[in-house]
Symmetry: C2
Subunit: 146 residues, 2 copies
DNA sequence: CGTTCTAGTTGTATAGTACAACTTGATGCG
DNA sequence: CGCATCAAGTTGTACTATACAACTAGAACG
Protein backbone atom coordinates (compact mmCIF):
# COMPACT_ATOMS: atom_id res chain seq x y z
CA UNK A 1 0.00 0.00 0.00
CA UNK A 2 1.23 3.50 -0.80
CA UNK A 3 2.08 5.97 1.92
CA UNK A 4 -0.92 8.01 0.83
CA UNK A 5 -3.32 5.11 1.22
CA UNK A 6 -1.98 4.21 4.59
CA UNK A 7 -2.25 7.84 5.67
CA UNK A 8 -5.89 7.92 4.59
CA UNK A 9 -6.56 4.83 6.70
CA UNK A 10 -4.93 6.44 9.69
CA UNK A 11 -6.96 9.60 9.20
CA UNK A 12 -10.12 7.54 9.01
CA UNK A 13 -9.27 5.59 12.11
CA UNK A 14 -8.24 8.59 14.16
CA UNK A 15 -11.21 10.68 13.12
CA UNK A 16 -13.47 7.80 14.10
CA UNK A 17 -11.80 7.52 17.48
CA UNK A 18 -12.22 11.22 17.97
CA UNK A 19 -15.89 11.20 16.99
CA UNK A 20 -16.64 8.32 19.33
CA UNK A 21 -14.87 9.97 22.24
CA UNK A 22 -16.52 13.29 21.59
CA UNK A 23 -19.87 11.58 21.55
CA UNK A 24 -19.17 9.80 24.77
CA UNK A 25 -17.84 12.78 26.68
CA UNK A 26 -19.90 15.61 25.22
CA UNK A 27 -22.77 15.40 27.65
CA UNK A 28 -20.68 14.78 30.71
CA UNK A 29 -18.26 17.66 30.57
CA UNK A 30 -20.80 20.43 30.32
CA UNK A 31 -24.02 19.25 31.91
CA UNK A 32 -25.54 22.65 31.38
CA UNK A 33 -25.13 22.54 27.62
CA UNK A 34 -25.16 19.58 25.24
CA UNK A 35 -22.93 19.67 22.20
CA UNK A 36 -25.90 20.54 20.00
CA UNK A 37 -27.15 23.27 22.32
CA UNK A 38 -23.66 24.69 22.49
CA UNK A 39 -23.44 24.75 18.73
CA UNK A 40 -26.84 26.39 18.36
CA UNK A 41 -26.00 29.06 20.90
CA UNK A 42 -22.70 29.65 19.19
CA UNK A 43 -24.44 30.09 15.89
CA UNK A 44 -26.85 32.57 17.41
CA UNK A 45 -23.94 34.53 18.79
CA UNK A 46 -22.14 34.61 15.45
CA UNK A 47 -25.23 35.52 13.50
CA UNK A 48 -26.62 37.85 16.09
CA UNK A 49 -29.96 36.09 15.97
CA UNK A 50 -31.61 33.86 13.40
CA UNK A 51 -34.65 31.71 12.76
CA UNK A 52 -35.15 28.14 13.91
CA UNK A 53 -35.43 27.09 10.29
CA UNK A 54 -31.99 28.50 9.57
CA UNK A 55 -30.52 26.47 12.40
CA UNK A 56 -32.20 23.33 11.11
CA UNK A 57 -30.90 23.87 7.58
CA UNK A 58 -27.42 24.78 8.68
CA UNK A 59 -26.97 21.78 10.94
CA UNK A 60 -28.99 19.27 8.95
CA UNK A 61 -31.44 18.73 11.80
CA UNK A 62 -35.16 18.26 11.51
CA UNK A 63 -37.18 21.36 12.30
CA UNK A 64 -39.00 19.47 15.02
CA UNK A 65 -35.70 18.67 16.69
CA UNK A 66 -34.66 22.28 16.57
CA UNK A 67 -38.06 23.33 17.81
CA UNK A 68 -37.66 21.22 20.93
CA UNK A 69 -34.07 22.27 21.52
CA UNK A 70 -35.08 25.87 21.17
CA UNK A 71 -37.98 25.36 23.53
CA UNK A 72 -35.58 23.92 26.11
CA UNK A 73 -33.11 26.77 25.67
CA UNK A 74 -35.94 29.24 26.09
CA UNK A 75 -37.19 27.49 29.22
CA UNK A 76 -33.66 27.77 30.55
CA UNK A 77 -33.77 31.50 29.75
CA UNK A 78 -30.69 31.24 27.53
CA UNK A 79 -32.44 32.53 24.44
CA UNK A 80 -35.55 34.54 23.73
CA UNK A 81 -37.86 34.65 20.77
CA UNK A 82 -38.95 37.83 19.07
CA UNK A 83 -41.78 37.77 16.61
CA UNK A 84 -40.64 39.17 13.30
CA UNK A 85 -42.86 42.20 12.72
CA UNK A 86 -42.49 41.68 8.96
CA UNK A 87 -43.70 38.08 9.04
CA UNK A 88 -45.66 36.75 11.94
CA UNK A 89 -44.79 33.16 11.15
CA UNK A 90 -41.19 33.88 12.00
CA UNK A 91 -39.60 33.94 15.43
CA UNK A 92 -36.17 35.44 15.51
CA UNK A 93 -34.03 33.85 18.20
CA UNK A 94 -31.64 35.90 20.28
CA UNK A 95 -29.24 35.07 23.06
CA UNK A 96 -30.17 36.46 26.44
CA UNK A 97 -27.57 37.91 28.73
CA UNK A 98 -27.58 34.62 30.67
CA UNK A 99 -27.19 32.73 27.41
CA UNK A 100 -24.20 34.79 26.46
CA UNK A 101 -22.63 34.13 29.84
CA UNK A 102 -23.17 30.37 29.79
CA UNK A 103 -21.89 30.20 26.24
CA UNK A 104 -18.78 32.15 27.16
CA UNK A 105 -18.21 29.96 30.19
CA UNK A 106 -18.54 26.70 28.28
CA UNK A 107 -16.38 28.09 25.50
CA UNK A 108 -13.71 28.97 28.05
CA UNK A 109 -13.77 25.54 29.60
CA UNK A 110 -13.66 23.81 26.23
CA UNK A 111 -10.82 26.05 25.15
CA UNK A 112 -8.91 25.20 28.30
CA UNK A 113 -9.40 21.48 27.63
CA UNK A 114 -8.09 21.84 24.10
CA UNK A 115 -5.20 24.00 25.22
CA UNK A 116 -4.19 21.45 27.78
CA UNK A 117 -4.44 18.67 25.25
CA UNK A 118 -2.28 20.64 22.82
CA UNK A 119 0.19 21.88 25.38
CA UNK A 120 3.72 21.16 24.30
CA UNK A 121 2.98 21.23 20.60
CA UNK A 122 5.34 23.54 18.73
CA UNK A 123 3.53 26.51 17.29
CA UNK A 124 4.41 25.45 13.79
CA UNK A 125 2.63 22.12 14.23
CA UNK A 126 -0.44 23.76 15.76
CA UNK A 127 -0.77 26.07 12.80
CA UNK A 128 -0.38 23.26 10.31
CA UNK A 129 -2.78 20.96 12.13
CA UNK A 130 -5.39 23.72 12.28
CA UNK A 131 -4.99 24.34 8.56
CA UNK A 132 -5.42 20.65 7.75
CA UNK A 133 -8.59 20.43 9.81
CA UNK A 134 -10.07 23.47 8.15
CA UNK A 135 -9.24 22.07 4.78
CA UNK A 136 -10.73 18.72 5.69
CA UNK A 137 -14.00 20.18 6.95
CA UNK A 138 -14.31 22.63 4.10
CA UNK A 139 -13.75 19.82 1.66
CA UNK A 140 -16.12 18.65 -1.06
CA UNK A 141 -19.52 17.36 -0.05
CA UNK A 142 -19.75 19.60 3.00
CA UNK A 143 -21.61 17.15 5.19
CA UNK A 144 -19.46 14.07 5.02
CA UNK A 145 -17.80 13.65 8.32
CA UNK A 146 -18.16 9.95 8.23
CA UNK B 1 -3.52 36.72 20.26
CA UNK B 2 -0.50 34.63 19.34
CA UNK B 3 -0.51 32.38 16.31
CA UNK B 4 -0.45 29.39 18.64
CA UNK B 5 -3.54 30.53 20.53
CA UNK B 6 -5.43 31.21 17.37
CA UNK B 7 -4.44 27.83 16.00
CA UNK B 8 -5.77 26.15 19.15
CA UNK B 9 -9.08 27.94 18.68
CA UNK B 10 -9.27 26.80 15.10
CA UNK B 11 -8.51 23.23 16.11
CA UNK B 12 -11.22 23.39 18.75
CA UNK B 13 -13.75 24.80 16.32
CA UNK B 14 -12.96 22.38 13.52
CA UNK B 15 -12.91 19.34 15.78
CA UNK B 16 -16.29 20.42 17.13
CA UNK B 17 -17.67 20.78 13.63
CA UNK B 18 -16.36 17.38 12.75
CA UNK B 19 -17.83 15.73 15.85
CA UNK B 20 -21.23 17.28 15.22
CA UNK B 21 -21.27 16.19 11.59
CA UNK B 22 -20.10 12.71 12.43
CA UNK B 23 -22.85 12.43 14.97
CA UNK B 24 -25.44 13.63 12.51
CA UNK B 25 -24.37 11.43 9.64
CA UNK B 26 -23.20 8.30 11.44
CA UNK B 27 -26.51 6.51 11.48
CA UNK B 28 -27.56 7.46 8.00
CA UNK B 29 -24.61 6.29 6.00
CA UNK B 30 -24.52 2.74 7.28
CA UNK B 31 -28.00 1.76 8.37
CA UNK B 32 -26.79 -1.73 9.07
CA UNK B 33 -24.23 -0.62 11.64
CA UNK B 34 -24.24 2.34 14.00
CA UNK B 35 -20.97 4.03 14.84
CA UNK B 36 -20.88 2.26 18.19
CA UNK B 37 -21.66 -1.14 16.72
CA UNK B 38 -19.03 -0.59 14.09
CA UNK B 39 -16.50 0.27 16.74
CA UNK B 40 -17.39 -2.73 18.87
CA UNK B 41 -17.14 -5.08 15.91
CA UNK B 42 -13.82 -3.52 14.96
CA UNK B 43 -12.53 -4.07 18.46
CA UNK B 44 -13.61 -7.71 18.37
CA UNK B 45 -11.78 -8.13 15.11
CA UNK B 46 -8.59 -6.57 16.44
CA UNK B 47 -8.67 -8.49 19.69
CA UNK B 48 -9.93 -11.69 18.19
CA UNK B 49 -12.70 -11.90 20.76
CA UNK B 50 -13.20 -10.33 24.18
CA UNK B 51 -15.68 -9.94 27.00
CA UNK B 52 -18.54 -7.47 27.16
CA UNK B 53 -16.97 -5.97 30.26
CA UNK B 54 -13.79 -5.25 28.34
CA UNK B 55 -15.75 -3.41 25.68
CA UNK B 56 -17.53 -1.38 28.33
CA UNK B 57 -14.28 -0.43 30.02
CA UNK B 58 -12.47 0.34 26.80
CA UNK B 59 -15.17 2.61 25.42
CA UNK B 60 -16.39 4.08 28.70
CA UNK B 61 -19.87 2.68 28.24
CA UNK B 62 -22.14 1.25 30.88
CA UNK B 63 -22.22 -2.52 31.00
CA UNK B 64 -25.97 -2.44 30.43
CA UNK B 65 -25.47 -0.46 27.25
CA UNK B 66 -22.92 -2.92 25.99
CA UNK B 67 -25.17 -5.79 27.00
CA UNK B 68 -27.97 -4.47 24.79
CA UNK B 69 -25.68 -3.66 21.89
CA UNK B 70 -24.20 -7.11 22.10
CA UNK B 71 -27.66 -8.64 22.24
CA UNK B 72 -28.60 -6.76 19.07
CA UNK B 73 -25.42 -7.80 17.31
CA UNK B 74 -26.07 -11.39 18.30
CA UNK B 75 -29.67 -11.23 17.09
CA UNK B 76 -28.29 -9.96 13.78
CA UNK B 77 -25.92 -12.94 13.75
CA UNK B 78 -22.87 -10.69 13.52
CA UNK B 79 -21.29 -12.01 16.69
CA UNK B 80 -21.61 -15.11 18.79
CA UNK B 81 -21.03 -15.78 22.47
CA UNK B 82 -18.96 -18.60 23.81
CA UNK B 83 -19.08 -19.45 27.46
CA UNK B 84 -15.65 -19.28 29.00
CA UNK B 85 -14.98 -22.78 30.29
CA UNK B 86 -12.72 -21.33 32.99
CA UNK B 87 -15.36 -18.97 34.38
CA UNK B 88 -19.00 -19.52 33.67
CA UNK B 89 -19.89 -15.92 34.36
CA UNK B 90 -17.92 -14.87 31.30
CA UNK B 91 -19.10 -14.89 27.71
CA UNK B 92 -16.35 -14.41 25.19
CA UNK B 93 -17.62 -12.58 22.13
CA UNK B 94 -16.48 -13.51 18.64
CA UNK B 95 -17.25 -12.21 15.19
CA UNK B 96 -19.20 -14.57 12.99
CA UNK B 97 -18.37 -14.93 9.34
CA UNK B 98 -21.30 -12.63 8.55
CA UNK B 99 -20.03 -10.13 11.08
CA UNK B 100 -16.62 -10.13 9.50
CA UNK B 101 -18.19 -9.52 6.11
CA UNK B 102 -20.42 -6.67 7.22
CA UNK B 103 -17.53 -5.09 9.08
CA UNK B 104 -15.32 -5.33 6.02
CA UNK B 105 -18.04 -3.88 3.85
CA UNK B 106 -18.72 -0.92 6.11
CA UNK B 107 -15.00 -0.37 6.49
CA UNK B 108 -14.63 -0.30 2.72
CA UNK B 109 -17.44 2.17 2.29
CA UNK B 110 -16.10 4.41 5.03
CA UNK B 111 -12.66 4.22 3.54
CA UNK B 112 -14.04 5.20 0.15
CA UNK B 113 -15.79 8.21 1.71
CA UNK B 114 -12.57 9.33 3.37
CA UNK B 115 -10.56 8.75 0.24
CA UNK B 116 -12.94 10.85 -1.77
CA UNK B 117 -12.85 13.58 0.81
CA UNK B 118 -9.07 13.54 0.79
CA UNK B 119 -8.68 13.22 -2.95
CA UNK B 120 -6.36 15.83 -4.30
CA UNK B 121 -4.33 16.18 -1.12
CA UNK B 122 -0.62 15.82 -1.75
CA UNK B 123 0.78 12.71 -0.13
CA UNK B 124 3.03 14.78 2.06
CA UNK B 125 0.03 16.56 3.59
CA UNK B 126 -1.87 13.32 4.13
CA UNK B 127 1.03 11.85 6.00
CA UNK B 128 1.45 14.91 8.19
CA UNK B 129 -2.27 15.23 8.88
CA UNK B 130 -2.44 11.57 9.87
CA UNK B 131 0.50 12.03 12.21
CA UNK B 132 -1.09 15.07 13.85
CA UNK B 133 -4.35 13.22 14.45
CA UNK B 134 -2.56 10.27 15.98
CA UNK B 135 -0.62 12.58 18.21
CA UNK B 136 -3.76 14.41 19.22
CA UNK B 137 -5.70 11.27 20.10
CA UNK B 138 -2.79 9.67 21.86
CA UNK B 139 -2.34 12.80 23.91
CA UNK B 140 -2.54 13.12 27.69
CA UNK B 141 -5.79 12.29 29.41
CA UNK B 142 -6.77 9.68 26.88
CA UNK B 143 -10.50 10.31 26.97
CA UNK B 144 -10.72 14.02 26.38
CA UNK B 145 -12.08 14.56 22.95
CA UNK B 146 -14.15 17.48 24.02
C1' DC C 1 -61.12 35.06 -2.17
C1' DG C 2 -58.94 30.39 -2.13
C1' DT C 3 -54.83 27.61 -3.12
C1' DT C 4 -50.45 26.83 -2.08
C1' DC C 5 -46.27 27.75 0.31
C1' DT C 6 -43.52 28.50 4.75
C1' DA C 7 -42.49 28.51 9.95
C1' DG C 8 -43.15 26.29 13.69
C1' DT C 9 -45.45 22.87 17.11
C1' DT C 10 -47.02 18.54 18.61
C1' DG C 11 -47.83 13.38 18.47
C1' DT C 12 -45.51 9.27 18.07
C1' DA C 13 -41.77 6.15 17.53
C1' DT C 14 -36.92 4.73 17.79
C1' DA C 15 -32.04 4.47 19.31
C1' DG C 16 -28.65 5.00 22.60
C1' DT C 17 -27.58 5.79 26.93
C1' DA C 18 -27.28 5.51 32.32
C1' DC C 19 -28.45 3.91 36.90
C1' DA C 20 -30.33 0.62 39.97
C1' DA C 21 -31.91 -3.88 41.16
C1' DC C 22 -31.39 -8.42 40.31
C1' DT C 23 -29.29 -13.34 38.95
C1' DT C 24 -25.71 -16.33 38.61
C1' DG C 25 -21.34 -17.92 39.24
C1' DA C 26 -16.54 -17.42 41.56
C1' DT C 27 -13.55 -16.46 45.53
C1' DG C 28 -12.00 -16.18 49.95
C1' DC C 29 -12.16 -16.39 54.93
C1' DG C 30 -13.19 -18.12 59.47
C1' DC D 1 -17.26 -26.49 54.67
C1' DG D 2 -20.64 -22.45 54.40
C1' DC D 3 -21.51 -17.88 54.25
C1' DA D 4 -20.14 -13.24 52.78
C1' DT D 5 -18.46 -10.76 49.20
C1' DC D 6 -17.05 -9.83 44.55
C1' DA D 7 -17.66 -10.00 39.37
C1' DA D 8 -20.25 -10.58 34.82
C1' DG D 9 -24.30 -9.90 32.68
C1' DT D 10 -29.37 -8.98 32.22
C1' DT D 11 -33.47 -6.49 32.90
C1' DG D 12 -36.51 -2.62 34.49
C1' DT D 13 -37.00 2.10 34.10
C1' DA D 14 -36.16 6.67 32.67
C1' DC D 15 -34.27 10.32 29.92
C1' DT D 16 -32.37 12.62 25.70
C1' DA D 17 -31.85 13.30 20.99
C1' DT D 18 -33.58 12.37 17.01
C1' DA D 19 -36.87 11.77 12.73
C1' DC D 20 -41.20 11.63 10.31
C1' DA D 21 -45.94 12.82 9.86
C1' DA D 22 -49.89 15.51 10.87
C1' DC D 23 -51.29 19.74 12.16
C1' DT D 24 -51.88 25.21 12.90
C1' DA D 25 -51.09 29.80 11.65
C1' DG D 26 -49.63 33.17 8.75
C1' DA D 27 -48.06 34.87 3.89
C1' DA D 28 -48.07 35.17 -1.11
C1' DC D 29 -49.94 35.02 -5.31
C1' DG D 30 -53.12 34.00 -8.84
Amino acid sequence: MSAAQSAVETIQREMTIFARRARASAGRMHPELSLVSYTLLGHLEEEGGCRATDLAAHYALDKSTVSRQVAALERARLIERRLDPEDHRVQVLHLTEAGREILAQVTRSRRAAFRERLAGWPEEDLVRFAAYLERYNAGPGGAGAD
